[in-house]
């Protein structure tokens, strides 16, 4: 009886959407553990986590937009704009720090609103309109800071490296905070609306959901994660640089896709995006510690994405074949 129960539980687990991603995650961690000396020591855990966190947060930002059925090519430059604003305005005083964060928040929400208006209300295809917005963000960042520089208070990078009660690294805390923010929305209507609009926009509209507004809100919620990413990035680099954030755009999409979130929208889980970003981080670790030339990084990353995609799509193909 209990064996049957166990089998049943395993089957249920196997059908869970995150199952293939979790398998890949375990494989990647295992390979990494073999290659990286002292992988299971706390110091290595902490430094790995610290370097993965920005992409984890950026992927959460991307995931919200993809869940609603869009895609955001402006994420990298929105992050950049935020970091540049912080580096240009902050000083050591508390008011200076608050001003920097406040301005970065305002700018990010303005970008989110612009994206939400063009994609939601003007019905532009997000893949090109967010690219245009990305250009605007890049221009603004360049105007604010033509050369890399600026000042980031030491509080930031010191805090980023500390452990609370010497067991809880701050980066982990930030990721948990990000998930908590998403958890906060989980209890609200907007959460269901995002999935509804992403899943079937017409049906959502027919059921009286203001689809345009939902898209706008999705971009604004995504903005919260963008600002979080920017905070972590400045804590890591301690400067502002208008050419810094470009890579986050495509890497966040890759992480979201690996994480099993459907690009058609409406299907997937933010945890998947977190796992996807961690997988990408571990992969670059593996390439580094396997003494492979960094030239192979893009190649292997691309192959793994294709592999992960095929793996996550195979079950649905089989279902179709049976039907």
């Amino acid at each position: 009886m209990s064996r049957l129960n166990e089998q049943h539980r395993f089957l249920k687990l196997r059908r869970h959407g995150l199952f293939p991603i979790f398998l890949i995650f375990l494989v990647v961690v295992a390979v990494n553990a073999c290659l990286q000396p002292g992988f299971f020591t706390f110091d290595v855990f902490q430094s790995n986590l610290a370097s993965f966190t920005p992409l984890v947060l950026a992927s959460m930002a991307q995931a919200v937009v993809i869940l609603v059925g869009g895609i955001d090519l402006s994420i990298g430059m929105a992050i950049t704009l935020s970091t540049v604003i912080m580096a240009a305005t902050m000083n050591d005083s508390a008011s200076g720090i608050l001003l920097g964060i406040g301005l970065a928040l305002a700018a990010t929400f303005a970008v989110g609103a612009l994206n939400g208006l063009t994609v939601g209300y003007l019905k532009l295809p997000s893949i090109i309109s967010t690219f245009a917005v990305s250009s605007v963000c890049y221009g603004a960042a360049l105007l604010i800071m033509p050369q890399p520089g600026g000042y980031i208070p030491s509080v930031f990078y010191e805090a980023y490296q500390t452990n609370i009660a010497s067991v809880l690294p701050v980066p982990l805390l930030i990721i948990l905070a990000g998930l908590a923010i998403w958890g906060f929305f989980r209890r609200r209507k907007i959460y269901r609306y995002i999935y509804a609009v992403g899943g079937n926009e017409q049906a959502a509209f027919a059921n009286g959901i203001d689809t345009k507004r939902v898209k706008l809100y999705a971009f604004l919620i995504s903005g919260v994660f963008i600002v979080l990413t920017a905070l972590v990035v400045v804590a890591q680099t301690a400067t502002g640089d208008a050419n810094m954030g470009r890579s986050y755009t495509l890497n966040s999409i890759a992480a979201v896709v690996i994480g099993g979130i459907s690009l058609q929208g409406g299907k997937g889980n933010l945890i998947g995006a977190v796992l996807g970003a961690l997988i990408l981080g571990f992969i670059s670790n593996i390439i580094f510690f396997a003494n492979l030339s960094s030239f192979y990084q893009d190649l292997i990353k691309g192959l793994i994405i294709i592999f992960a995609l095929t793996l996550s799509i195979l079950p649905t193909l089989r279902k179709k074949a049976l039907a």
């Binding site: 003007l122 893949i127 690219f131 495509l250 690009l263 030239f295 893009d298 691309g302 294709i306 995609l309």
Partner: protein, 342 residues
């Protein structure tokens, strides 16, 4: 204010375009692209940019400068042809690997040619074959494994980029041969050779799309895959070949980039990736597939290139230029790219 007439132009274009596309959708296969108001307005806007440029900075509207801009447009336009075929084929078709593929084509031809004319034919053959094969791999993933085109080609772009890095060891060697350089920067009868080539390609592409069985198949595929499949077409094979063709064309596009620059660098094609999509959309091609013509893409490529060219001439800082470019893109998209949903 030079911006106001442009704005009103855009708005009337949108109003007139809306009614027209609906009827065009019904008349499948009948392409009256030259009369398509969206395309005409794109050309008119490009002319307007040259006139405005001449007023702001004398010399911008002169023949030789216009030819320079067209020369660069030809490069974008050629790679945008690859993008257009994929978008036309429908099924959310898009190819985000055209930029990486062009880069690969450029560095490969640079290394194979090594400055010698004798290696040209070999280079063309190899670049075409590699581009076609890689494109087909994307196509197989998309049509047989049902991977969404956006991700498949994005991942493939990463693979291609990595492949180019490994192939060149990080530093592309070689250069264009004299003959290839003559194609890229030389002129015949005052008109750049690349523009002559572009005209030839545009005519061939136009005839191919409007008059041949294959062209009609492509529109059929983009409009309704199911009916195309039911009428006996092996749509998965065709889709795979379309992505293969896109790969081959963008790889050769990379060779043309090399002909213009003389030497290749690793990310030479990267900046062309998203502009190809925008050129296709400005050219009146629906991202849903099955609608539009290469003539429109040509107009889109010329408009985009003249726009970035005038922004350089305006002596604006890089930051200001990026903002203006982005804002104008948004305005163009509002006029051209609105989706017909709900």
């Amino acid at each position: 204010m030079g911006g106001d007439p442009e704005m009103s132009q855009l708005q009337t274009g949108e109003a007139r375009g809306a009614g027209r596309t609906a009827s065009a959708g019904q008349a499948l296969g009948k392409l009256r692209s030259l009369g398509n108001p969206k395309v005409l307005i794109a050309y008119a806007l490009a002319v307007l940019i040259f006139v405005a440029g001449q007023l702001i900075s004398p010399g911008f509207g002169e023949f030789s400068n216009i030819m320079n801009v067209l020369n660069i447009s030809a490069l974008l336009g050629f790679i945008a042809l690859a993008q257009m075929l994929v978008v036309l084929s429908g099924g959310e078709g898009i190819d985000l690997s055209v930029g990486a593929m062009a880069s690969l084509g450029a560095v490969m031809s640079s290394q194979i040619i090594g400055g010698l004319d004798g290696n040209l034919i070999q280079a063309v053959a190899i670049v075409l074959a590699v581009g076609f094969l890689i494109g087909c791999v994307s196509g197989v993933g998309i049509s047989y494994f049902k991977v969404p085109p956006l991700v498949m080609t994005l991942a493939m772009a990463s693979v291609i980029q990595g492949g180019a890095l490994v192939y060149t060891n990080g530093q592309p060697k070689g250069m264009a041969s004299p003959l290839l350089k003559e194609l890229g920067v030389g002129r015949t009868a005052g008109i750049p050779n690349l523009v002559w080539l572009w005209i030839l390609i545009a005519v061939v592409a136009g005839i191919f799309l409007a008059r041949t069985k294959w062209g009609k198949l492509l529109y059929g595929l983009g409009t309704n895959r199911l009916t195309t499949e039911l009428s006996g077409v092996r749509t998965r094979v065709v889709r795979t070949i379309v992505y293969g063709a896109s790969g081959a064309i963008s790889a050769i596009g990379g060779m043309l980039l090399l002909s213009y620059t003389g030497t290749a660098f690793l990310d030479i094609g990267g900046t062309y990736m998203l502009p190809t999509i925008i050129a296709v959309v400005i050219g009146g091609i629906s991202l849903a597939g099955g609608l539009g013509s290469y003539n429109g893409t040509v107009a889109g490529a010329i408009l985009l290139t003249s726009l970035s060219s005038i922004l350089v001439t305006l002596n604006m800082s890089e930051g200001g230029r990026q903002i203006v470019y982005g804002v104008i893109l948004l305005l163009l998209l509002i006029a051209y790219g609105r989706q017909k949903t709900t």
